[in-house]
């Protein structure tokens, strides 16, 4: 009864507590849910456009970048050989071994590499941006099976434009690749 009376008497404190709880739920909880530290300026949420793909076809995933900081964050992308190099990719077989790279000569020590810089992008506080990534240009996903995909992105740029800072990791998702002669009967 005493504690109840205390809450009754300190209604303002209770309101403040609730407000802070709401703020925590809105910002900190999603970050922690993705295994990310609360101080990271953005979160990455990965989803598969099609959880089931067909061997030999291009495999896409979508990443939603959400600015959870109080300042604008860079969201500019760059591309090499069809892969957005603004992200680090971790693609593994079901047994946990790293999937095979398409180009064993990475990082770009052989001829033939081409790239481009995308237009500048800045993401304001609280804003989100979802973009599509092609995983199959970097990793060989032609072998049927299940692949675990996780990406990460440096948290900031230095004064020279180099990506620096901590790695912000996405959630991990599973992409199933079926044999080419056994395509899925329904799109998922």
């Amino acid at each position: 009864m005493k504690s109840i009376n205390m809450f009754r008497k300190s209604g303002r404190a209770t309101s403040e507590f609730r407000a802070w709880l709401l703020i925590w739920l809105a910002f900190a909880a999603p970050a922690l849910a993705c295994g990310q530290a609360a101080e990271q300026p953005f979160t990455l949420e990965l989803r598969a456009n099609k959880p089931i793909g067909v061997a030999g076809s291009q495999v896409f995933v979508w990443v939603k970048m959400t600015n959870v900081s109080d300042h604008a964050v860079d969201c500019t992308e760059a591309e090499m050989d069809g892969t957005l190099t603004s992200y680090n990719y971790d693609v593994r077989y079901e047994d946990g071994k790293s999937a095979d790279l398409v180009d064993k000569s990475l990082p770009y020590s052989s001829p033939g590499h081409t790239g481009k810089q995308w237009d500048k992008c800045s993401l304001g506080p609280g804003k989100s941006r979802e973009i599509e990534l092609v995983v199959s240009f970097r990793y060989n996903l032609s072998k049927p099976g299940k692949y675990m995909v996780q990406i990460s992105r440096r948290s900031s740029l230095d004064a020279n434009g180099l990506r620096t800072g901590d790695w912000v990791k996405s959630n991990a998702i599973t992409v199933t690749v079926l044999p080419a002669n056994d395509p899925p009967t329904t799109q998922q």
């Binding site: 760059a78 591309e79 050989d81 033939g112 081409t114 481009k116 237009d119 180099l162 990506r163």
Partner: protein, 522 residues
């Protein structure tokens, strides 16, 4: 239609005298015997006039549509009196409808067994029955039993997904929205009535076919571009009661004409017949003078980009002029090789979109040991939309290629077509429509005047729209060539989209050149 089935006989048998001159007799309880005696009487006064009552055995056709005029309806029966056989006492047979839904036009008694009849069905009549009778002089006793036919209402076209959500009727004289307007790429869902026929009509029929004919405009069934693949779905089957499509380009009048046909249902079915054609008309609004303006068009450059763990960086052949990290390392600054600006006044709320299709891309490396030629597979450049941008004020491209120092020359030939599209936001059911495109190319060569250990690269070449009219490529000086637009004016290389084939399509992403290299050794 009023009191269907009740003969509209202006006469009454009780008001007539029989041929023996008997006085007026009440109808009631002696009706049957009177009729029987009448029918068995001989020829009247030797006039050749048979007072036997007319009969109708068939009417062909026996299905009629509202609003239509029929001029050659054949009535078959017995005891019809032709004008030639008619006398004052025994006039020609009269054939008439019993309801007010028909307007008689012509009547010809061809013989004692055939009448040709013409009439018009009023426009707003509902589906139901109509009865006809053939009358000989004398009144009810000489009038045939009513012969019933089907009257079917004309089809009505409804716009099922109008933005107001009212589903207005858009065909016929009673249309609530006679000539609606849509914007390019706005989904149009049309439904029609009837889709089935009422069971209460006297002659059982069913709808056996439906047919649409769409004229005017450029129309498709669907277009849902994705990065994976994209193709145009042509117009859907036109033999269903409903129709869903999109108009891609502006048009003053896109007409959708609809007709259904009925057929007999069972042994007692009526004729095969087709409804009148009803038409709805849409105006399709769009851009009047869309364009892509071009900016920059720089010469090829050798830019020394900063490397990192993911890429070595160093000298890079760039269409544009960049400084800072290599693409794999961070965000470079500078000027892109070519910039595209969307131009045009939209017909409403919506977004400009870009999509670039790589039509050719090769990088050739030549050195002391041989030549490597790496060739990309054509396809969509990166993503749909280009760089995943929605309604950008501009977009750009700066193709680049790292320069391994072991090579003497590196040449990149890049060809692409940049499409400008627009998608209305009038509702969620819209598709992007092409406004036009610019084919363009970058051809640059880097030559190493130094050594592998101490390279000294120089660049030559440039990029520009590929002029369909054969004009020379610009020299990189803005304003020096027609290929480079004046500020605010369309580029002469811009090709307005006007046909279905101008809608961009691809089978997948362009596969980077690095995936396919062929090396020949010296």
């Amino acid at each position: 239609m009023g009191d269907r089935g009740v003969p509209r006989d202006p006469h009454h048998y009780a008001g007539h005298h029989d041929r023996k001159g008997c006085s007026k007799r009440p109808a009631g309880d002696v009706l049957h015997s009177a009729i029987e005696r009448w029918r068995h009487l001989p020829d009247r006064a030797g006039s050749g006039c048979d007072l036997s009552h007319a009969t109708i055995t068939s009417i062909s056709p026996n299905v009629f549509f509202a609003g239509q005029t029929y001029s050659n309806v054949i009535i078959t029966g017995t005891n019809f009196i032709t004008p030639a056989a008619a006398t004052t006492a025994c006039p020609a047979t009269v054939f008439m409808p019993t309801e007010v839904g028909l307007l008689p036009k012509a009547l010809t008694v061809n013989s004692s067994t055939e009448i040709t009849y013409g009439f018009q069905v009023i426009a707003n009549v509902r589906t139901g029955e109509e009865s006809f009778v053939a009358k000989n002089a004398g009144g009810l006793l000489q009038t045939s039993q009513p012969f019933k036919v089907d009257i079917l209402a004309a089809p009505v076209i409804t716009w099922a997904n109008d933005p107001d959500g009212t589903s207005p009727t858009i065909s016929g004289p009673n249309a609530t929205l006679p000539n609606p307007t849509v914007v390019v790429g706005q989904q149009i869902i049309l439904t029609t009535t009837p889709t089935t026929l009422a069971t209460g009509i006297p002659i059982p029929l069913s709808i056996v076919s439906s047919a649409w004919k769409v004229t005017g405009g450029t129309n498709i069934g669907d277009y849902q571009p994705t990065s994976a693949s994209t193709s145009v779905t042509l117009m859907p089957p036109l033999n269903t009661p409903g129709l869903t499509f999109y108009s891609v380009y502006p048009a003053a009048s896109v007409q959708e004409a609809y007709q259904f046909c009925v057929g007999p249902l069972g042994e007692d079915g009526g004729s095969n017949a087709c409804s009148p054609v009803v038409t709805a008309t849409f105006d399709v609004s769009g851009f009047s003078t869309p364009a892509i303006n071009i900016g920059n068009e720089l010469l090829a450059n050798i830019d020394d980009l900063t490397g990192c763990a993911a890429a070595s960086g160093g000298p890079t052949l760039v269409y544009g002029n960049l400084r800072g990290p290599a693409a794999a390392c961070g965000v470079a600054t500078g000027t892109p090789g070519i910039t595209f600006y969307p131009v045009g006044t939209p017909p409403g709320a919506g977004n400009f979109l870009f999509a670039q299709v790589v039509t050719g891309d090769s990088v050739v490396y030549s050195g002391a040991s041989g030549t490597s030629t790496c060739t990309a597979t054509p396809g969509l450049d990166g993503n749909y939309t280009y760089q995943l941008q929605i309604n950008p004020p501009s977009t750009s491209d700066s193709p680049e290629a790292p320069l391994p120092s072991t090579n003497a020359t590196v040449t990149r030939n890049f060809n692409a077509t940049m499409y400008l599209l627009w998608q209305s936001t009038v509702n969620a059911k819209t598709i992007p429509v092409p406004l036009g495109y610019i084919p363009w190319a970058f051809n640059g060569t880097a030559a190493n005047g130094g050594t592998a250990a101490n390279p000294a690269w120089t660049a030559s070449g440039t990029g520009a729209p590929v002029m369909s009219n054969g004009e020379a490529s610009p020299d990189g000086v803005i304003g020096s060539n027609d290929a480079i637009p004046d500020a605010g004016s369309p580029n002469s290389a811009f090709v307005p989209a006007t046909t279905i084939s101008d809608i961009p399509g691809w089978n997948g992403l362009a596969v980077p050149a690095s995936a396919s290299c062929v090396t020949t050794t010296n």
